[in-house]
């Protein structure tokens, strides 16, 4: 049928099918700014356009319904101001504000948010913050925590009203004095339950930065500045930057038949009807492809885990496991073909409780003979990995304690929920090399891991990583690339495979659920004499990341509290873990990588010990916490399955974090203040305040390596090529800032490309909070090489010009403001140097290459504070405020870094109160969408506060440490500690749901 639409002011007549959604029709016609979150019920809103001026989710609307209507997409909103000889009106003020305010991380939801804001401001030019939050609440963002998008829209509204807004380019807000809440209880901020409005927001977007030690700060031009993200302009225009934003002639659509049962052998499979369906190009089962054991974990060689996965197998091990692959001309035909595949399963007993996995006589999930062990894995016992670490003399430490505290804690399985699903496109190029265009965090690992699976040498595979719409660890997995690749090999044609949201929930990866037993010996003065943790970790059906995730649970969370006095010199720490197989979807990497699980247990445990001993919970923690100059206690015991080497921690800003965080949240005025805990006029409400202290790591020592190359262009600009993978974190931007700092040019002169295994240097990928630290150091080395060549040539050029001046030495030349400047003030410009080197004299390509590996993994530290209101009659918990003070070393870009903290705290908030994946007695999932798996929306957020406590980490040229993962660690225990503070409800298993609180209150 034909429909007539007015899109961005232009009339279009399209042929559409009756069932075709408006989303499908728009993307089919090249409107790639309309994104597809894969959701089935319109709950994510990434696909929103303005239909007759109103935000409308196009995935739950037929194209035919739009007939005769006016549509606005991001493509019609604003453009780059300078398109060569053609000038445009530039970006819309809303787009401009989103760019300037750091409101864009992965950028996948950005077009929908920009359009929602446009609709709001057209009907209400002067909205309140609540109105802004409501207006964008139909669009889920998993990256930002919504604070900067809200600030950007408030800012845009002011600009559009003709008001002046303060510049963002200024210095970060320094904390002159550590307090902003001087009053007593009467001045305390009201609870969200009190007035049903969220806290105020400023158009100010800079975080607070408290500099502890950093004498070099003033000398830097680019590092430390709130530079605009290098990819923001394209993302705010909705450019076709993502993996699915591509069309290829003859491209097939792939679908996978997933198992409906938790554990079974495939007795019989008949695909003849599916293959006979017109439009089906291939149907593959385990009988059709080579059987190659591998691991889907995107990690360096050798993979620190068992090889227990096959592209297709004769056995299924969880509801959602793969049974068959289909490639067809259309999605509808592919889905129809799946229904025609006949499968007879021989059901096997399933293990759904990890506690059953190690029992005698338990069903064996991996009984295949070609299973490849790693370290302590033992498939006959359903053991994917095992860890036994004893540091010091733990039993002696317990004997010396005055009190022993033991308790068991539990954390659930949760999902990364990146808004862009997993997407892959594969095709043969003209040289018969297989090209894999994929939304991955680990392009180089994809290439290496898939080569044997596909029967191709590494050199015949090229992996292209376009823009990624969020990953959070979910894309540190070689998850679906093999599906499309097998189908391309089978058909010779390009194949696209995109997970829908149900597949993301049922057949992708998740955070490992764990049961954690703590045993801690303490003297009455609060000195920890020994600390032990036992973890039962559920890796699900496959062992991917099982060892390393669970290892980090102990390596980070059990390293923070070493004890005091003589125990500080020789801590007594035990960390044991069993990582078991069950018939549930595999767990994998999720931002935080095992550490949030550990700190839930450790920080709940520390709070309970402090309260039982009558000690101040902050003083107790700091008394026992790791300090600068001390040995990382685990560094001699464990290193991700590799050889451990001792590591001294040089910078610990934890005490300053605590001081600044306490001041901002008003700890002294609130903690222990009975009046503050009451809510006037609401006797059923209680306020509470809580804290958690955490540490993370920065990369994996002696293993993680990143490379970079840089070359100078004719105009003095530079191409920076990195294998590092920006998922929305801003890593491309901070890498460009470091290169710009060394080369003395503005960031706009650094053109970043990332990544393509054919063209960019190796990088292990985006994980372990390593990019700024590892890849950044590689960039600095590459830039320093180029800078050295520039200085040599500049000196030569200046000396040739002479003019009676003395000889200039290269090492005396400064690179600044696009110039090479001699001590006497004479200079040559970068453009002059570039033209000279490429065209005029002694021609050479000025370039540099660098790679970096670190022998240390300097931990960032943080103090996380939470303020809650609890309804003691219903158990409902409202989180009113989260404040995080973080020591991440030097902050390269305060806007992108604070965006990481805000977004991380928001994900962690879901972990604290609502996110969990649950399964029935058949192993079938309860959560298959974002209706039941609730993630926070813009109109229900607590106030978020970020403070950076800057230290200077000596192992990095600019003093940086990691920032990306640490915000995941402390929110859940801080919230639970605040609930305990509010009403005495002591919750040992997160999330803290109303019924758990209600039950705990009845027990208390």
């Amino acid at each position: 049928m034909q429909i007539r639409l007015w899109i961005n002011g232009e009339e279009h007549k399209w042929q559409v099918a009756p069932h075709e959604t408006l989303l499908a029709a728009l993307r089919r016609h090249g409107y790639y700014g309309v994104k597809d979150g894969g959701c089935q019920h319109g709950e994510c809103g990434a696909c929103a356009v303005l239909l007759d001026g109103v935000p409308t989710n196009t995935c739950v609307m037929l194209a035919a319904q739009a007939d005769g209507h006016r549509i606005e997409t991001i493509e019609g909103m604003g453009k780059h101001p300078d398109l060569g000889w053609r000038k445009t009106e530039g970006l819309h003020p809303i787009q401009q504000a989103l760019v300037e305010s750091g409101a864009i991380q992965c950028g996948y939801c950005t077009p929908a948010i920009a359009l929602a804001a446009k609709a709001l401001l057209e009907r209400n030019p002067n909205p309140t913050e609540e109105e802004v939050r409501e207006a964008i609440s139909g669009v889920l963002c998993r990256c930002t925590g919504y604070l900067k998008p809200v600030q950007a829209i408030m800012r845009a509204a002011a600009v559009m009203r003709g008001e002046e807004v303060p510049p963002i380019e200024g210095e970060p807000e320094a904390m002159a004095f550590p307090t902003d809440w001087p009053g007593g209880a009467s001045d305390a901020p009201k609870s969200a339950l009190d007035n049903e409005v969220s806290p105020s927001v400023r158009t100010q977007v800079m975080p607070r930065i408290w500099t502890v030690m950093r004498p070099e700060r003033q000398a830097l031009q680019r590092v430390g500045k709130p530079e605009i993200k290098v990819d923001a302009i394209k993302l705010v225009q909705g450019k076709p930057a993502f993996a699915a934003d591509i069309e290829m002639r003859g491209m097939l659509i792939a679908k996978v038949l997933h198992s409906p049962v938790a554990h079974a052998r495939i007795k019989h499979i008949d695909v003849s009807k599916a293959r006979a369906l017109p439009g089906v190009a291939a149907v593959l089962t385990y009988k059709d492809i080579p059987r190659v054991p591998y691991s889907t974990a995107g990690q360096s060689d050798p993979i620190p885990g068992p090889l227990d996965t096959f592209s297709l197998d004769e056995k299924v091990r969880f509801v959602g496991d793969r049974v068959a692959f289909v490639a067809a001309e259309t999605e509808e035909i592919a889905e129809q073909a799946l229904k025609l595949i006949e499968v007879e399963y021989e059901p096997l007993p399933a293990i759904l409780d990890p506690a059953d996995a190690l029992k005698d006589g338990a069903p064996i999930i991996h009984d295949e003979p070609d299973y490849v062990n790693f370290a302590e894995s033992d498939p006959k016992r359903n053991l994917a990995a095992q860890i036994r670490i004893d540091i010091g003399d733990v039993e002696k430490g317990f004997q010396e304690a005055d009190r022993i505290y033991e308790a068991e804690y539990e954390v659930p399985k949760v999902q990364q929920s990146h808004i862009e699903p997993h997407v892959v496109v594969t095709y043969w190029d003209e040289d018969d090399r297989l090209v894999i265009r994929t939304s991955t965090q680990v392009p180089f690992h994809v290439r290496r891991i898939l080569a044997p699976v596909l029967g191709l040498p590494v050199k015949r595979i090229r992996v292209i990583k376009p823009r990624i719409g969020g990953g959070f660890g979910g894309k540190q997995e070689v998850l679906i690339e093999d599906v499309a690749a097998h189908l391309t090999i089978a058909t010779g044609r390009p194949v696209m495979y995109v997970y829908n949201r149900e597949e993301e929930f049922t057949a992708a990866r998740s955070r490992h659920p764990m049961r954690i037993r703590m045993k801690t010996g303490v003297k009455l003065d609060g000195t920890i004499t020994a600390n032990a943790m036992y973890v039962l970790s559920d890796t699900g059906a496959y062992g991917c990341h099982g060892l390393t995730v669970t290892g980090n649970t102990g390596h980070k969370a059990m390293a923070l509290y070493v004890g005091d006095g003589e125990y500080r010199k020789a801590p007594n720490i035990r960390f044991y873990a069993d990582i078991v197989y069950t018939n549930k979807p595999p767990a994998g990497a999720y931002r935080g990588y095992g550490v949030p699980q550990g700190f839930w247990a450790v920080e709940r445990h520390m709070e309970r010990i402090a309260r039982d001993l009558g000690l101040d919970p902050i003083t107790f923690r700091l008394k026992n916490a790791l300090r600068a100059g001390e040995l990382h206690p685990f560094s001699t015991a464990w290193s991700e399955g590799r050889e451990p080497r001792p590591e001294i921690i040089h910078t610990v800003g934890l005490e300053e974090c605590v001081a600044q965080g306490k001041a901002v949240i008003g700890w002294e005025q609130k903690f222990g203040n009975p009046e503050w805990h009451q809510v006037p006029g609401k006797p059923h409400l209680r306020r509470g305040i809580g804290v958690a202290m955490v540490m993370q790591g920065t990369a994996i020592p002696y293993l993680d390596m990143g490379g970079a190359s840089i070359k100078m262009n004719d105009d003095g600009s530079f191409n920076l090529m990195v294998g590092a993978t920006d998922l929305g974190t801003g890593s491309d931007t901070v890498l460009a800032q470091m290169a710009a700092e060394v080369l003395g040019v503005p960031v706009e002169d650094i053109i970043v490309y990332s990544s393509d295994t054919d063209f960019t240097p190796f990088d292990k990928g985006a994980y372990a909070s390593s990019t700024t630290y590892i890849s950044g150091a590689a960039v600095v080395k590459a830039a320093q090489q180029a800078a050295e060549r520039i200085r040599i040539r500049a000196a030569k050029m200046l000396n040739q010009r002479g003019n009676g001046h003395g000889e200039v030495k290269p090492e005396d030349i400064r690179l600044v403001d696009r110039k090479a400047v001699a001590p006497d003030g004479r200079y040559v410009t970068m453009e002059e140097i570039a033209l000279n080197s490429l065209h005029h004299a002694d021609q050479e390509q000025i370039m540099g290459i660098g790679s970096h590996m670190s022998p240390v993994a300097p931990p960032p530290f943080a103090a996380q504070f939470a303020e809650v209101t609890v309804d003691i009659e219903t158990g409902a918990v409202t989180v009113d405020r989260l404040v995080m003070a973080v020591d991440s070393g030097v902050i390269v870009n305060p806007i992108t870094a604070s965006g990481q903290i805000e977004g991380g705290m928001t994900q962690a908030l879901g972990y604290a109160v609502c996110e969990e994946l649950r399964y029935d007695e058949q192993g079938r999932p309860r959560e298959k969408d974002w209706v039941n798996y609730h993630i926070f929306r813009a109109n229900e957020m607590p106030e978020l506060g970020t403070i950076f406590v800057e230290t200077f980490e000596p192992s990095h040229p600019f003093g940086v440490k990691a920032v990306a993962e640490i915000p995941m660690d402390g929110v859940a225990p801080a919230v639970a500690n605040a609930v305990l503070d509010a009403c005495g409800a002591d919750i040992l298993d997160n999330p803290v749901t109303p019924e758990k609180v209600w039950r705990a209150l009845r027990k208390a």
Binding site: G42, P55, G138, T874, H934, P994, E995
Partner: protein, 250 residues
């Protein structure tokens, strides 16, 4: 899968399409549920050109056209704040721009705040072509269990002289409720109590000349309200709290 799309300009034309024996033909409001229908094959009749998107106040009755969207209703001046709240909590801002009131009645489940509110307010539906008025309660009692071929909801009617209060508990402020209570109280003292947050539809707890007995009735209705989201014991206790809060302001 949707195999035919029609956009009739008159009610008669729409009813004619809906009454065809084949293919199965369904009315299409905003499309938030029906547009993703995979099976069975069916035709849809888009109601957008029928002018059913009007809200009119006649005496004490608010007549809400079937294709009025939830957001349109929320923006209607004079709607009781707690009915606005229930409509707002029904779904997200973007989906409220498309989801219609009739569609919400037809597809809402036990966790639906808006459906609970309509049930408490004893709202009625106008069915065409018979011009039959049916209470939402009666409709929900038989929803999905009787043929509705050829029938179309054209209007929803809600009394405006009724006091109404809605209370709910969820994991977060915008999450779907795990327990909700909606209470409507007429000037005569008549009181209807509805509970939800579980099951296929919200449940009417009582409809009486006053509120007496509502607590006992509530406990009774919730004795089996056990599911993966909350236990019956929790719901029984907390519903009493919510009921008290509602009653205290009515």
């Amino acid at each position: 899968m949707i195999i035919e799309y029609h956009r009739p300009k008159t009610l008669e034309e729409a009813l004619g399409l809906l009454q065809r024996p084949q293919p199965p033909t369904l009315p299409l409001g905003g499309g938030t549920t029906l547009s993703r229908l995979k099976e069975p094959d069916c035709a849809v009749v888009d109601l957008q050109a029928l002018g059913l998107n009007q809200i009119m106040l006649q005496g004490n009755i608010l007549k809400i056209g079937a294709t009025v969207t939830l957001q349109q209703l929320i923006d209607y001046a004079g709607l009781r704040p707690d009915l606005v709240l229930a409509a707002r909590k029904e779904t997200t801002f973007n989906l409220r721009q498309r989801a219609t009131v009739a569609g919400s009645v037809v597809s809402g489940d036990g966790r639906s705040p808006f459906l609970a509110a309509l049930l408490a307010l004893d709202a009625t539906l106008l069915w065409m072509p018979r011009e039959q008025v049916e209470s939402v309660g009666d409709f929900l009692a038989l929803r999905g269990r009787r043929p509705q071929k050829g029938l179309l909801i054209t209007e929803l009617r809600v009394a405006t002289n009724v006091n109404f209060k809605y209370e709910a508990v969820a994991r977060t402020p915008e999450d779907r409720p795990i327990i909700l209570v909606a209470v409507a109280k007429w000037p005569s003292g008549r009181t209807r109590v509805v509970v939800g947050g579980f099951g296929k539809t919200p449940r009417l707890v009582m409809d009486g000349p006053d509120a007496s007995g509502s607590q006992v009735a509530l406990r009774s209705v919730l004795q089996d309200a056990d599911d993966e989201w909350a236990s019956a014991a929790y719901r029984q206790e907390v519903a009493q709290v919510l009921l008290s809060r509602c009653m205290s302001v009515l």
